[in-house]
Symmetry: C2
Subunit: 457 residues, 2 copies
């Protein structure tokens, strides 16, 4: 995979938009700590001198999107005027420059709003690269030589777990059989699980209907939100277990609701319902807490899953090292783009932890399918115990939405990273000036935007 | 300490300013990763209906301050219109509300730019409370009943190390002897160490001059920056050791320059110079890495110090639990204000780790003296092995600057948290429109501000 020729690849424009969907109106996506999310994103469009564009986004939950959008504006200076070919030729160097500016790193480093902003920019650059090569992102990654793929990763702070040389060796060991697995993916897709049977805001009747719906669609793994009230959790999980039967899989997700000891006690009491994992039992920063919970729940056959709010590769490294994570739920837009995500996959492979990406929200399903496809073809070489989360929301806004059939993600075929919005979505849901938002403000469905939210408009 | 009466205490205005000092021009503050900082801050002024004001800041390094300023604007909605007395009456509840808004927490949570923004706001509220009580902040804290002080803390995610009840018990055990220690503080101050003998940008001759200067001022503890080049480090540290003699203390600070194994190897080779601690040997997020380094260096008598970039109380909890931190360097403006800092002090006391606050930058010395005074009077009851960092820069901009005499911080006496700027500082150093910045732009000393930096002006 040669880096593209430099001609015409100067980055001449970066546009960023605050896009919000009024999902709180339907109670979709509600969990123990995020009771009323408006699924949103900061959406970046990068334009080259030759007119070609790359599209990238970072998922957000409504309020706060304005901060990520503003931060992207503050990061433009690290990208504008550069030649995209030069970025791809030393992608790790570019990554280090944008994440570790000597002054700006103080306000991270490599975490929170700035890292979300970096993710949107990096995602747009990977989308651009794939488009320039006329390939879906997963094929771009799969077709790279191991040395080339690894050259995009900054190994600072992780060499005690994996070095560049070890990473290359892991990838080389799977090179010979790569083609067969690509063929398998194209013919069979990749297994998905559903999170849509048990959001906290849903009624019992709706839970039952949804179990039946997703069983009929071929799903075998069902995730339920828990954490606010034990009796309610037990009742809803029992109902799901009854509806799906003993041969299917139940996962539960507390979205950080508990302290460490509380998590252990709560889950011991849910153990008779045989959940396969407990997701986000406590603070996403608590490596030692997750390790303690993992150890306590191991005798009950319950694994710990986390990652959607894991700040960066250094935090992932510790979750993987400590035994605090049996299922590694990378998110495609929280850590610093594909470059840093590849580092996490490589560490997970080295330490024998299964990656089951976080998805849902806005565009996350679209992105993670590419990553997991690459993992199967080039790195882990197996789907055993691995699944991609699937939530059937917000896909209609994308030019190249993910397709899930018979509970499997079908191979993306169009060039890029699948996150380009349709023009009418931008026109309707740009916040606060899109036509749908203007209508909803007028109808009193939402309070008008505040000073900061107006500043990016 | 009764919460003040509500009359006139409605918060009617919040102002936030981007204040930057051109410290990069002199090489002050340069270290392995922050090679050219312009010491800066986001500066908040909160105004009550009765006209009284509170002042708070969060330290930054130049670029990126605009993001923190913007984030403070986005957080105004959680503060404006509230009555300050109601906030103080349920300070933990207010803290939870501003740090864990159901939508906004996604862009943190409790870390990075949003948490720095929260810190500036919370610091201004504590300054305001102390002013309303007509006391310096440390006296406000010392005079609080244990139950009242603890009521300001959110214990979520830390109860596996300390509960509210244990915290009250720790404080109660020191109540009887508090008055004596207050008297001692007023008469003797609190010991300081200097970081000013060995910034990386300084010449050998300057290092020697500064050692002599600070020895003459009575200092016994000297910190030197390391991490870029071993030979250079060894030479400079040897020189400092020679100048200060064997009876004084040398600390070294790598500012996150190394990987875990590299840190261990580098420090073993510096061990003959008897450094008391190695500060920030690796990523500030790497709890397990710091624990490994601590264990490896223990036989050499070298402790590990870290904290200035530790994201929140959950990260501090783990550093304290794991043995990864022998010196806990809380920062007054990175984590969520005094409320969260108190939680860290309480955990450190419970787990027998010494707190030696990070200071320097802008306003950090002014703030941490109050915290450490409180710790001695009300919590640890000892100064043994504890010191406050001191850097003699940017104090002249404050209305009530810290005073260090004979290498000891003298008790602050004016009401508040000591971080109110003088009017001429705001006029000169507001970025980018202050008179000094306008002059420096005209003289070509700095590039003009970018789009985002202009947006808050």
């Amino acid at each position: 995979m040669p880096v593209p020729d430099r001609a015409g690849l100067k980055i001449v424009h970066i546009d960023v938009k605050d896009i919000r969907f009024p999902t709180s109106l339907g109670g979709h996506g509600s969990d123990a700590l995020h009771t009323d999310p408006n699924y949103s994103c900061a959406y970046v469009t990068i334009t080259l001198e030759n007119g070609k564009q790359g599209y990238g986004l970072t998922f957000t939950c409504g309020r706060g999107t304005e901060v990520v959008v503003f931060t992207i504006r503050a990061l433009k200076k690290f990208v504008l005027g550069k030649n995209a070919a030069d970025i791809f030729a030393d992608f790790a160097g570019f990554w280090r420059a944008i994440t570790n500016d000597s002054q700006m790193r103080w306000i991270g480093p490599e975490k929170g709003a700035v890292h979300l902003a970096v993710a949107a920019i990096l995602n747009s650059l990977w989308d651009l690269w794939a488009r320039l090569e006329n390939k879906p992102l997963w094929r771009l990654l799969v077709d790279m030589e191991p040395e080339e793929l690894v050259s995009t990763i900054d190994f600072r702070y992780i060499t005690d777990v994996i070095t560049k040389e070890e990473a290359i060796k892991l990838l080389k060991s799977k090179q010979a059989s790569k083609k067969e697995r690509v063929k398998y993916l194209l013919e069979n897709g990749y297994p998905a699980y559903t999170t849509q049977v048990g959001w906290l805001g849903y009624s019992d009747e709706l839970v039952k209907q949804l179990c039946n719906k997703y069983l009929n669609l071929g799903f075998t793994h069902f995730k339920v939100k828990v954490g606010l009230n034990f009796e309610d959790d037990y009742r809803r999980c029992s109902a799901v277990r009854k509806h799906i039967g003993e041969d299917k899989f139940l996962m539960v997700d507390a979205n950080q609701a508990w302290g460490v000891n509380e998590a252990i006690e709560w889950m011991k009491k849910l153990a008779p319902l045989k959940p396969m994992w407990i997701e986000e039992p406590t603070s996403p920063d608590d490596v030692l807490g997750h390790a303690a919970i993992s150890q306590a729940l191991k005798p009950y056959g319950i694994g710990v899953a986390t990652g959607e709010m894991c700040a960066n590769r250094v935090m992932f490294k510790q979750f993987l090292q400590s035994g605090g994570m049996q299922f590694c739920q990378i998110d495609s837009a929280r850590i610093g783009g594909v470059n840093e995500i590849l580092a996490v996959y490589l560490m997970a492979e080295k330490l024998n932890v299964k990656v089951c990406p976080h998805a849902g929200g806005v565009g996350l399903c679209e992105m993670v399918q590419h990553l997991q496809y690459w993992d199967f073809a080039s790195l882990s070489g197996t789907m055993e115990g691995r699944l991609i989360e699937y939530v059937d929301q917000q896909h209609e806004h994308f030019y190249d939405p993910c397709i899930v059939e018979n509970a499997r993600y079908i191979a993306p075929k169009l060039p890029g990273y699948s996150t380009q919005f349709l023009p009418e979505t931008l026109q309707k849901y740009a916040y606060p000036n899109g036509s749908e938002w203007q209508r909803m403000f007028e109808e009193g469905l939402f309070s008008p935007p505040d000073e900061a939210e107006l500043a990016n408009a």
